[in-house]
C-alpha cells in the first residue's frame, strides 16, 4: 500500500502542435519511457517538456495552474475525450494509473470556433468571461449588504445553488459537444442565481442577456445530446439546462 510503488509505463504520445492561431497545426509523436503510474497527467507532460528542452526543442504550451481540479485552466482533449478517460476528473487530476503500458495517447486542444487555439494545447476561452460580464452577477455594490442571516435560505436551495456554482469554467462541455454549445456553462450560472433569493430581482434580465451574449460569441445550439454532462469534471447536471430553458421562456413572456 501507499505511494512510491508506482509501476512504470512506456507510452507513445501524439500531441497537437500549432505555432499560433493562424498557423496550421499537426500531430507530433513522442516516445516516453519509465513514466510512474503515481504521476499526474500534467507531470507526465512536465517530463516530456524537460526531454524536449534537453533535446533543444521548444516545450509544448498548455494551460494549467492549480493542479487541484479547481481553477479550470487545464484543458486537454485526451483520446477523444475532454479531460481524458475518467469521469468527474480534470486533466490535472487524471493520474497515469488510468493508463496501461504500451498505450498510445492522443492529446489535442479544445476544438470550437468560439475557443480559438493560441498555441499548441492552449486556447482562448475569454468568451466565457464576456458571458459572465453580460449578466452573471447580482448587482450589489460593496457596502450595501444587510446582515447575512437576515436572508434565510433553505438548506436544499443553498445546496442546489452550490452544486451549480461548482462549475470551474473549464469549457469541457463545449469541447465535448458536437455543436460546441455552451449551454451547460451558462445554465450553471443562471441556475445558481435563479435558485437564490438574492438573484430574483434581475432573474429575467439576466437569462436573456447571458443567452444573447452566448449566441453572439458563436457557440452552437443545444440539441440535447447530453455529451456535456457526461464530460463535465464537476458533475454539473443537465437539469440546469432544462431550468435555463424554463427561465428563458418565462423571461420572454412579458
Amino acid at each position: 500500500m501507499g505511494s512510491g510503488h508506482g509501476t512504470e509505463l512506456n507510452l507513445t504520445l501524439k500531441v497537437w502542435r500549432q505555432k499560433n492561431a493562424k498557423a496550421a497545426g499537426s500531430f507530433e509523436t513522442h516516445q516516453l519511457t519509465g513514466i510512474s503510474t503515481d504521476m499526474s497527467f500534467l507531470e507526465m507532460f512536465d517530463v516530456l517538456n524537460e526531454k524536449l528542452i534537453h533535446e533543444g526543442k521548444e516545450a509544448i504550451a498548455f494551460d494549467h495552474d492549480c493542479r487541484e481540479g479547481i481553477c479550470g485552466a487545464c484543458s486537454m482533449y485526451i483520446n477523444g475525450r475532454p479531460h481524458g478517460p475518467k469521469n468527474l476528473v480534470t486533466t490535472c487530476q487524471l493520474h497515469m494509473r488510468s493508463f496501461k503500458n504500451g498505450d498510445t495517447i492522443v492529446v489535442e486542444p479544445w476544438r470550437s470556433a468560439a475557443f480559438p487555439v493560441i498555441k499548441d494545447l492552449a486556447v482562448d476561452r475569454t468568451a466565457f468571461d464576456r458571458i459572465i460580464a453580460s449578466g452573471g452577477y447580482v448587482s450589489v455594490n460593496t457596502g450595501n449588504a444587510q446582515d447575512a442571516n437576515n436572508i434565510l435560505i433553505p438548506k436544499e436551495a443553498a445546496d442546489e445553488a452550490f452544486s451549480a456554482a461548482a462549475c470551474i469554467g473549464c469549457g469541457a462541455c463545449v469541447a465535448a459537444c458536437k455543436n460546441a454549445s455552451a449551454m451547460l456553462f451558462v445554465s450553471a450560472k443562471v441556475s445558481q442565481l435563479a435558485l437564490l433569493p438574492q438573484g430574483q430581482v434581475e432573474r429575467k434580465e439576466r437569462v436573456k442577456k447571458m443567452v444573447a451574449q452566448m449566441d453572439e460569441e458563436g457557440f452552437g445550439n443545444c440539441t440535447n445530446t447530453g455529451a456535456c454532462e457526461a464530460e463535465c469534471p464537476k458533475g454539473i447536471s443537465l437539469e440546469n439546462i432544462a431550468r435555463m430553458n424554463r427561465e428563458l421562456t418565462a423571461a420572454s413572456l412579458k
Binding site: 495552474d65 476528473v89 459572465i132
Partner: protein, 670 residues
Amino acid sequence: MSKLDSKIPEGPIDQKWSKYRSTVHLVNPANKRSLEVLVVGSGLAGASAAATLAEMGYKVKVFCFQDSPRRAHSIAAQGGINAAKNYQNDGDSTYRLFYDTIKGGDYRAREANVHRLAEVSSSIIDQCVAQGVPLAREYGGLLSNRSFGGTQVQRTFYAAGQTGQQLLLGAYSALQRQVGSGNVTLCSRHEMLDVVTIDGVARGIIARNLVTGEMEKHFGHAVLLCTGGYGNVFYLSTNAMGSNVTAAWKAHKKGAFFGNPCYTQIHPTCIPVSGDHQSKLTLMSESLRNDGRIWVPKKKDDNRKPTDIPEEERDYYLERRYPAFGNLVPRDVASRAAKERCDAGYGVGNSKMAVYLDFAFNTARYGRTEATKRNIQNPSQEEIMRLGKEVVKEKYGNLFDMYEQITGENPYEVPMRIYPAVHYTMGGLWVDYNLMTTVKGLYALGEANFSDHGANRLGASALMQGLADGYYVIPYTLGVYLSEEVSRMSAEKDKPDSIDKLKTKHPAFDAALKEQTDLINKFLTIKGTKSVESFHKRLGLIMWNKCGMARNKQGLTEAISEIQALRREFWSDVRVLGSADEMNPDLEKAGRVADFLELGELMCKDALHREESCGGHFREEHQTEEGEAKRDDANFAYVAAWEYKSESNWELNKEELKYENIKIAQRSYK
C-alpha cells in the same frame, strides 16, 4: 530616524478605524473619473479592490497572468473564512478575533491593522452573501460555521471544501459586472514585469502580453499589487504552479521594503511527496482536523496496516502534548510536532515521512447521531459507519475525492497519510496602515503584503484579509493619497510636460520598457544547457532543507552561498528556447525563477538575523526544553523591513511593535 512611518491613527484601538475612515479626505466623483488605478492581480484581494474602486467611479485596469481572472490562486482555498459574527453564540467578538490573530501570529503583527481586520470581518460575510455566494447553511436556513485551528470558537464560514472558489467567483462576478459596464479594462494573460517610478513615485507598470509577447506600458495614478504569496520559492508548495514573486520583487528593487521575508507557513496536513516527478503538493484542508484525529504508531517502524493497529498502540501526539487544543493547535505547532515524530522514527507509509489523519472515530460519532435522528434502533456497526460516511461526504466530499485521485487510496476506509508542506507566506511587501508600500502611490494587498498575520497565520484568515483589504480598506485609504494627487494635478494643469499629459510618453516608461526587454533577450541568448525547471527544483531543495520547518545558523549560512552560486550558474547556463514575440511559458518561468533566486537569499538572511523562534520561524538554537518556539521579545519585537541596495546587499529597517491592548505572553496551547 526610522524610514518607516506606519501611519497608525491616534486613539483607542476600537475607534482608530471608524474615526479614521470618517475623517479621511475624499475624492469627489468628477475627479474620480479622471483617476486611473492599476490593479495587478485578480485574486480575492485584487478582484474585490478592482470591483469596489470601479463602483466608486475610478477608472480601473486589472491584470492577471491566467487566461481569466476567475482562475487566480484564491480559487483553490478550501476550508473557510473567519468572521466575528458570533452566530453560534459561543462568546466570539471582534476583540476575541483580534486577540486570537495576534496570539496566533506569535505577537509579531501590528495591533491596529489586526483590529481593523477583525472589525470589518462581519461585513465581508454580508457582502458575499448579498452577491449570491452559496455559503453552507443549516436546516433552519441560517449560515453554518465550523472550527479552525488556534481558536476555541466556531467562526469559520464555508462552502464545502471550496470556499475560496465560491468567494472568488463572487468577487469575479462583481468585477465582470464592472467590465461589462466599461468601468474596468481587463488585461488577462498579462504579466507585470516592473513598476515605473518617476521621482520615487509609482506611475505605472510594464507588462508583457503573454499571447503576443508584446511589451506594454500602462500609466496609473496608483498601482495596487495584489499578486499573492511567494511560497513557490520552495518549488514544492500547495500554491498554484504560476504563483510567483515577480511583481513584489520588482517593486522591492524599485524601493519597496520587504517585510519579514522569512515568515513562511508550513501547513501540517498535505498529501506527502510521492516521487521525484512531484510538481506540487496538495493541501488537505485544516477543516479536516475538526473531524480527524492525528496519530502515529507508538512503536517505531510499525509496518502493520493502520486499521490493524489497536487503539492503545496509537500515539495521538497532539492530544497528548496539547490537551487544551488537541488536534486544533495552530499550524506551526502541528507541523513541527509531525516533523518531530517522523524524525524520531515513528513516521508511516513507504517514505516514513507521514502521519495518519484518521476519520474513523468521528465518522462513527456522526453515524450514531444520524441513527438517532432517523430513529434507527440498535444500529449495527456497519450501519453506523455507512450513515457517518454520508455526513463526512457532505462536509468534505471534494477533498476526499481529491485524496483518492492523487494517492489511489480510499480515505473513507483507511486513514489519510499527511505531511507538512509550504503553504503561505506571512512575509511580503511592507505596508503602512493605508496599505501603501515605501514607494509612494504603490500599494500591496492580500497575501502580497506582510501585514496582519505576524509570524504565523491562523487558518481561514487569509481569505478574510484579502477581502478586507479589497472591499473595505483600500476604498477608503486610497483616497488619502489620491486626494493629494488631485491637488497636484490641478497645480500642474498648465504644465506642458506634466506627468498627466505625458503619461506613458514619459521617458521613465521607455527606460523601464527597455530594461525589461533587454532582460528577456538576455534569457534567450544565454543558450545554456540546463532547463529553468531544474534550477527551480534545486533552489527549492536548498530552501526546504535549510530555510524550512527548522532553521539554524550553519544551515542558513550555507544556504546563502549555495543560492548565490546557483544564481551565477543560472545566469550562465540556463536554456530558454523559443522567441520573445509569442506565447512562451518557458520564458515566463525564467523570469519568475530569476526573481526567486534573489528572494531566496533574502529569506535566508532574514532568518539568520532573527535570533529567536516565533511562529513559523523556528531556529533550532532557540527552543524551550519541551521543544516549543522561544521568542525574544526584548530584542526582536519588530518587523524586519529590508531595503534593497544592490545585489546581495540589503539594509535592515525596523518597525517596533507596540502591544498596548494585548498582554504579550508566551504562547501556550496546552
